[in-house]
């Protein structure tokens, strides 16, 4: 094994009331692919932020090429050849794709004027786009790309750095199988070029696919490492959460009832010449799969009334309804849990309790005022139930780990009484243990008569949780699958627009 060029020694990081990292060691050698796994809030992102120069550790040493230091700055990290794909995307929606990829490292001409060489810039971005199979050009304005496409741009940014080490913090959390596969190949390519990769994910099969070793964090401590040959989901789960997990799928208690939500000929603005029709039945989980940009989020937004429906009708319990806006949808009992938690799901610098109560404040009323005691109580209950890792419910959501933020988004809606729940990537960034809790909860909800539409890019989740799957391709439904037809192959066939044989 080659000498490690980068070592983290005895790194600790304390936040008020939280020990995020507790004396962690990690070393990286050339061409090594390390998977970093652990529960939500275990400290994975924090560890990587220390490495990327974003967070200053409270203690410990960082050794780069033998030189020791207490902390790095972003600039030093970049100079040391470390590229970083952040968990929370850090892009500029007033620039185009090329501008984002090369921000801070633009090719220039004109001497001291440092003018941007646009041609060269585009030329440099084009191969990256192809490498990841992106369906947009280098001059696409970022504001018009979907979340998953943003994630691809972030990855390109890291790849363009010619780094020695690429850190990817949950790069695949909103990618579908196709893009993920492509990314796996990219990682293999990097490895072959001698570039090291640290890879954080909650999708354990990805770890099995590409990692040389897996490092497991729990409660800020390193609890184990698995070599390539030991990598198996069960072993990883045991290290991560300290127990085994049962299988994903729990069948419904009763066969599904009548259809609750009927979408007929819905047309969204991105695909004005395609229409979607589907219905969700009482007590069932309808999975909605598709490739990045297939229009699933757009559909959900239109049903929820965020965007106007260009054409088509929505029926609830057979009655046609008009959804003028999210409030109207909620009044009808249709809820949406959005995929973009930072942009649409949360008020970042507000406490967990206030975030949870926000959609349902009227039920906390006491003499026209908010009953904060009841609010806190309910938030505490949700925190227990979803195992949100935070010192208390007064903690502001912005300081939570990504997965825990996602749990807060879920908690916002689960304390209410919906008829139809639309989940857009419900477990984005959520760890395996908590995922299971969430799936159990979905099942309990359907058993209580709720209809669930679950948009998911996680193949395992779509197949493991749904009672039925609808697949979207370029703004239209390309087919439905019953449980008997469930398979990766079938879903993928439909997702690329082919029929199932």
């Amino acid at each position: 094994m080659p000498e490690p060029f980068l070592e983290l020694v005895d790194i600790s990081k304390n936040y008020p009331g939280v020990v995020a990292l507790d004396h962690v060691d990690l070393s990286v050698s050339r061409g090594e692919v390390i998977a970093l796994i652990g529960e939500n809030g275990a400290g994975k992102s924090t560890l990587m932020r220390v490495l990327g120069g974003v967070v200053e550790p409270s203690g410990g040493l960082i050794r780069v090429d033998g030189a020791e230091r207490r902390s790095l700055t972003v600039g030093e990290a970049i100079t040391a050849g470390i590229a970083f794909v952040h968990q929370e995307l850090n892009l500029f929606d007033n620039l185009d794709v090329a501008g984002n990829v090369f921000i801070g490292r633009e090719p220039v001409y004109g001497g001291p004027l440092r003018l941007i060489d646009r041609k060269q810039l585009h030329a440099k971005v084009q191969p990256l786009l192809e490498r990841l199979g992106a369906d947009f050009g280098p001059d696409a304005p970022l504001a018009e790309l979907s979340l998953a496409q943003h994630q691809l741009v972030e990855i390109m940014k890291a790849l363009s750095l010619d780094a020695r080490l690429v850190i990817m913090d949950e790069p695949t959390s909103s990618l579908t199988l196709t893009e993920t596969d492509r990314l796996m190949r990219v990682i293999a390519g990097l490895k072959a070029d001698g570039v090291s990769v640290i890879f954080i994910t909650h999708r354990l099969n990805e770890v099995v696919q590409c990692a040389d070793r897996a490092v497991v964090l729990r409660d800020g401590r390193m609890v184990g490492a698995l070599r390539r040959e030991e990598l198996a989901p069960a072993a990883m789960i045991r290290l991560m959460i300290g127990r085994d997990l049962k299988s994903l799928y729990v069948p419904p208690a009763a066969p599904p009832g009548d259809s609750v939500l009927d979408i007929e000929g819905a047309v969204t603005s991105t695909y004005p010449d395609r229409a979607v029709s589907l219905s969700v039945r009482r007590g069932e989980i309808l999975g909605l799969a598709g490739l990045v940009g297939s229009g699933r989020t757009e559909l959900a937004r239109a049903i929820f009334g965020v965007d106007p429906l260009q054409a088509g009708a929505i029926r609830l319990d057979g009655e046609p309804i008009r959804v003028a806006g999210p409030r109207a949808a909620i009044d009808h009992g249709i809820y949406l849990i959005p995929e973009d938690r930072k942009g649409c799901g949360l008020l970042l610098d507000v406490s967990i309790a206030e975030n949870i109560s926000l959609p349902d404040l009227s039920s906390y009323l006491r003499f026209f005022l908010v009953n904060t005691a009841q609010e806190t109580e309910n938030a505490k209950a949700q925190r227990e139930r979803l195992k949100i890792r935070a010192p208390d419910v007064e903690t502001s959501v912005g300081s939570l780990s990504g997965g825990n933020q996602q749990k807060v988004v879920l908690a916002k809606w689960l304390s209410m009484r919906p008829k139809v729940l639309i989940f857009d990537e419900p477990t984005r960034g959520v760890d395996v243990g908590a995922k299971q809790e969430i799936y159990d909860m979905l099942r309990r909800l359907t058993d209580a008569g709720v209809a669930i539409l679950m948009i998911s890019s996680d193949m395992e989740e779509v197949i493991g949780v749904s009672d039925r799957i609808a697949v979207m391709h370029e703004g239209a439904i390309s087919g439905f699958l019953d449980r008997s037809q469930f398979s990766e192959h079938n879903v993928l066939q439909l997702a690329v627009g082919h029929a199932v044989e």
């Binding site: 008020p16 999210p326 949808a329 949360l346 970042l348 507000v350 206030e354 926000l358 009323l365 908010v370």
Partner: protein, 341 residues
């Protein structure tokens, strides 16, 4: 009372103590009462402004609205012999209407708040000047509305202290605003919309309505302040009356912890901000500082206060870190500090 408000209070007390030390007349009942009267008038429209700032908007037409509605009010009761209760109701209704128009233009038509209210600033000022043909609107000699005057510009003895009614009005308004902002559902919505409108909409908040409501509240309170101010000056030159008052209002709100990016601010802070600004004005006259330095003194004291606060915050932080305690990363200073985004 949060930390920001506390810093502000300390600053006010320090400034007050220094002034009182140099000129003990600062603490005379008459002087305090006069200063409180100003705080009352300015505080009300500063609170108005705070509502709009909290939802992430801005209201630049405060000064012009004060001029226009003031002129109209005096005109109604002096020249048109309208009963003052009716006139008062009409003016408040006018303020609410102006707010509704601004809110609608911002939300339904989607014009930037800065542009909408800048146009308001220009149009209302012009309207006031045109309406009076640039003449001063005033009560004239001996015109008297004893009841109205007593209510708006009078003072009531409370334990020997002549408490101006304007400050009583401010107190009532501040208490209500505090409850609304910090305790009611609507207040939660205001902050939510100001922090992240998209997320608020996804939570089923009709953000458009909330924004309009904020502008309407702002308009109504400003109208009320306009009446108090008109009754105080008893004469209004439409070309200059209330000009720059929007800046006072925004300054008070920002000093009081509001962020112009929305989603932040406390009523106690806004009131304290107003107090600071008025004490500074008082100080200049009381210490016999040349009135040309009035502005400079205000600016300097605010800057020193903010710098001192920032310095203390940083020292405190260093101290806690040294003691090995975890430190709040990104905790801004309490006074006028950049709110982390």
């Amino acid at each position: 009372m949060n930390k920001k408000d506390l810093s502000l209070l300390v600053l006010i007390l320090v400034v007050g103590a220094v002034v009182a030390f140099i000129n003990p007349r600062f603490l005379y009942v008459g002087n305090l009462s006069n200063t409180l009267n100003q705080v009352g008038m300015f505080g009300i429209f500063s609170i108005a402004e705070a509502f709009v700032i909290i939802i992430g908007g801005i209201e630049l037409s405060v000064g012009s609205v004060i001029a226009l509605l003031g002129v109209l009010f005096i005109d109604l009761i002096v020249n048109h012999d309208v009963n003052w209760v009716l006139a008062l109701a009409m003016i408040i209704a006018g303020g609410l209407a102006i707010g509704a128009v601004h809110g609608t233009l911002v939300t339904k038509i989607g014009i930037q708040p800065f542009v909408v209210t800048l146009c308001g600033l220009l149009i209302y000022r012009g309207a006031a000047r045109y309406y009076t043909e640039d003449a001063t609107a005033g009560f004239g000699f001996g015109a008297s509305f004893p009841m109205l005057e007593w209510l708006t510009a009078g003072r009531t003895n409370v334990l020997g202290f002549p408490l101006p009614h304007s400050v009583i009005a401010l107190f009532v308004i501040a208490v209500i605003a505090w409850v609304v902002l910090h305790r009611s559902v609507f207040g939660r919505y205001l902050y939510a919309v100001g922090k992240n409108e998209e997320a608020a909409r996804y939570s089923g908040i009709r953000s458009g309505r909330v924004v309009i409501a904020a502008y309407v509240i702002c308009g109504g309170l400003t109208a009320f302040a306009a009446i108090l101010i008109a009754m105080y000056t008893r004469s209004i030159s439409p070309a200059v009356h209330g000009s720059f008052y929007e800046l006072y209002a925004i300054a008070a709100a920002v000093l009081g912890g509001c962020s112009l990016r929305g989603g932040e601010g406390s009523i106690v802070g806004v009131v304290l901000g107003t107090v600071l600004l008025q004490v500074l004005q008082n100080l200049v006259n009381l210490l016999g500082i040349p009135s040309s330095l009035n502005f400079a003194v205000m600016g300097t004291v605010i800057l020193i206060g903010v710098l001192a606060d920032q310095y203390l915050v940083q020292r405190r932080r260093r101290a806690t870190t040294a003691k090995g305690q975890p430190q709040a990363s990104g905790a801004g200073a309490s006074l006028g500090g950049a709110t982390a985004e």
